[in-house]
Symmetry: C2
Subunit: 616 residues, 2 copies
Amino acid sequence: MSKRVTDELGNMEIDVISVSSSRHGSENSTYVHKVGNPPKKTLLTEIGCIVKETFFSDDPLRNFKDQPRSRKFVLGLQAVFPILEWGRHYSLSKFKGDFIAGLTIASLCIPQDIGYGRLAYLLPQYGLYSSFVPPLIYAFMGSSRDIAIGPVAVVSLLLGTLLQNEIDPSKNPLDYRRLAFTATFFAGVTQATLGFFRLGFLIDFLSHAAIVGFMAGAAVTIALQQLKGLLGVKKFTKKTDIVSVMRSVFHAAHHGWNWQTILIGLSFLAFLLVAKYIGKKKKKLFWVPAIAPMISVVLSTFFVYITRADKHSVQIVKHIRKGINPPSVDEIFFSGEYLAKGFRIGVLAGSCSNWKNICFHEGLAVGWKQRNDSIRNNEYHQVDDILLRGHRVLFSLGSKLHGRMPYGVISLIDIEAMSLIWKIDKFDFVACMGAFFGVVFSSVEIGLLIAVSISFAKILLQVTRPRTAVLGKLPRTTVYRNIRQYPDAAKIPGTLIVRVDSAIYFSNSNYIKERILRWLMDEEEKLKENSQPRIQYLVVEMSPVTNIDTSGIHAMEELLRSLEKRDVKLVLANPGPVVFDKLHASKFHEMIGEDKIFLTVEDAVKTCAPKMDLEP
Amino acid sequence: MSKRVTDELGNMEIDVISVSSSRHGSENSTYVHKVGNPPKKTLLTEIGCIVKETFFSDDPLRNFKDQPRSRKFVLGLQAVFPILEWGRHYSLSKFKGDFIAGLTIASLCIPQDIGYGRLAYLLPQYGLYSSFVPPLIYAFMGSSRDIAIGPVAVVSLLLGTLLQNEIDPSKNPLDYRRLAFTATFFAGVTQATLGFFRLGFLIDFLSHAAIVGFMAGAAVTIALQQLKGLLGVKKFTKKTDIVSVMRSVFHAAHHGWNWQTILIGLSFLAFLLVAKYIGKKKKKLFWVPAIAPMISVVLSTFFVYITRADKHSVQIVKHIRKGINPPSVDEIFFSGEYLAKGFRIGVLAGSCSNWKNICFHEGLAVGWKQRNDSIRNNEYHQVDDILLRGHRVLFSLGSKLHGRMPYGVISLIDIEAMSLIWKIDKFDFVACMGAFFGVVFSSVEIGLLIAVSISFAKILLQVTRPRTAVLGKLPRTTVYRNIRQYPDAAKIPGTLIVRVDSAIYFSNSNYIKERILRWLMDEEEKLKENSQPRIQYLVVEMSPVTNIDTSGIHAMEELLRSLEKRDVKLVLANPGPVVFDKLHASKFHEMIGEDKIFLTVEDAVKTCAPKMDLEP
């Protein structure tokens, strides 16, 4: 049976019949919805659920469900070696396309990877090795057709910085190389471990904003490092911060820069910028910027060959060792002091490369904008991708002449993303700038540390200081909303409704208790000033409270005591299944009274408010 | 104008008129509630709010509001020196009560504090000093009338363990003492800093459960340490873990235990247990257990004096230096290697003593049970409190004879709290046991580390894996609830309603996106099996989503793309003020369409569901 209410304006309105377990209305006896108490899960199911949500939230075994055993085996094999699946549909025409794509990318990548090798202070062939072997393995075991596998600039830079803190590569190249092998070995072990134990979620702890800042800082750092080559500076600082680098550059200026190197560098920079401009203006000429870096490489090699510029102190890469990479297991430090150092560096570098977003940034598109565009159009811009590779080739050209130019990396500085971050979330912007300035003014590690710290601080702030809101009733509805957001939401006389917007855990239980009491005190003060009736009921809307722990229960008990002192009754609305369970386990529902727990705020108010008129 | 709906059972029901900003119904045009968009706060107000909630959530300046300047000054002075306030009402009769209380407590505390001094491997007088000076200062600057100020067992134990890791107190007592002074100095500085910068909230990061386990472990450790005195073992291990201690004890058994010490110890232990039993049985005789420890002290001293037991290898405290404590500033290490060590130990010990709950446990009541009782009755049981002090005196008695007994500390092992924790939260129980076994089988620091780590892990789990729920409509209401909690909640055909129970931040944005998609896939599979109409609308109930950051916005964009691929429309219900702001800042509301954001789930469903019948 429904209950009719006619409000003061004469509009007829019928209340929704959602009545709680309270004994307040016999007229509502037909459709009584109690606060739900679902059947208890056993401890084992509960643990299983947590493990599944934590480590297998992507539900990797979805395809295996309800399949016969033989099919499961095939699926499992295909999961490890996807080539077994797509290989069956591979055709000659596909191979033709792949062959051409491979040749194109190789011609672009070779000089680029030499450059990455040098960023890590290694001989050029190591950059080539690492861009050759991984894609080969990936062809058999990888699952994405669009990914670029190979060394990335930021990790190369990070590795180089960390390694040379331990060993000077110019003084002791052999040990340096061995330490590099050790570090990369452990980087691989780290990645495999993270993957095997499905700990990828640990990487979610770096916020997008921190990454944008970190990448921009790394771009500036890499660009600064190019100054060495571009200006032909001989004695260059080992540090990567802007102050040290600029001091080096100006110090070198006294001894005169190498004008030949500068001339070559600037000419090709101009050529590439013009090519890019043409490609942007005329969509049909998209192949101009795509082909420009290759032309630069050929031209510059030819130019150096005929003018013998290398005799005029223009540095060139010189001899690169032939052959595929020899096994280097015996060069890894498996004992001694460098084992620990290599391990530490490897874990750090390995975690960083696992940092999906860096890989994404570098591997597919340069900024969120491009990423968004591509997501928006639900396809990856092949042209953009080639353009990007074009940018990269600047590194290669650069490293070929050893006059790497600070141009390709500029696209890593994503001004647009930064301004969007500023608009959306100021705290994120602080993290972004912190990471950026940390990298630029100190070092890659410090920048990383700042990024992680600020990201963590944000999590902690979120966890310790959840939001609460005072609710009011929207006129002519049974909907209760935050009165700050909905100014026409009306407070109920004698009743204060507070919503807690978080699970109540030890980290915030005290705060939540105090904050609720503060809302009450503020409200009471206001009422006193206007000599309105005092608060008799405090309704806590628990809908968003997904969980509560022992500290939370104790905080609720303390809240109850404090309210009793003030002669205010505590009422709960809509506790979730877990919370309801725990309220029962701790017997809190007996302390507060079963009839004080309601299905909705409306129910709670309907029970509290009528009494208001009866009491003085 | 309201809209009448007659459901299939013929019950007349009128919908609540809470209509969103959508253009879906001209018949609902009278009372349109748009999703609220409150006036934007300036950046400064926003920062001010965050700072206030983070550091001043207790609103310390409440009393200062709207007061004239002179009154503010007086209030400020009284805030620093509360004696200025209560001192004015102090009377001779109050002094009489305080005097007797002081004498009583002093007679109980003196031997106890000697014991605490020895726990920290310091001369007995240092325990006395530290129980004398702090209460004196507290009398002027403290704000609570019920608090017990002085050394506490756990911190004494922690300090002793940490200090003797650095310096052996038996070999180098002078440096040991200086290091202790250095550490306690920095402990004080730490506490002052935490207080001044209002960083007390950092301490909230230890969960109640971890503390219960840690305290129980510390109790076992302290009890084990007493075995040395009780059994009169000469060569006792420096380690505190149970394995080392038991090995020491059994090793000593070969050389014969000191039977005189054991006899004295056990006799008084029996005496105290009997006294406690009497007090428990007959409420009128509550003074028997309260006075028993004092009697023990007097008796044992007398006994040792007449039998000259100290000549029969019963160890006694011997001479305690007279006078108040001399200044020890010049003994603090302000340079050298011990400065850093003292600083580290001090910060750790200082943070621990700041750990409110330890102080609370030790200072006022022994377990949550007593605490709860006292809170329940809204007063502190004076008798219980004296009993507690009685327990403590066992330490003192113990230290007097140097045969401290493992009895008083047993009450620190709160079995009842542990079983409650097990019932309420299994994860909490793991933290509790981890801390307990860490302390018992390893050391106090390791236990502390485990407690902090597990507490943190819990926070991280909470932050990275928030809950989500599929909602259904409760029959004959406009209320949507978790279908797991309310089995009679009905799903709306063609529509899936998912509630996200947390702010969407970088730490969980990917998970939330994937989880929502998984709900959708699961549902689609089920529908396929039963060949029911497919899902066309995904309603995300955003009420509990208090905030969203840039990563969260990107995740929502990706969700939108994935849904578009599956030809499912994304609909949002009730975004909060902050989220609404950010959706606008990022132009997400344009991507999804303004008409896809509703005030309530009911509104969203009313708009989506009718279309279901029209489409194929």
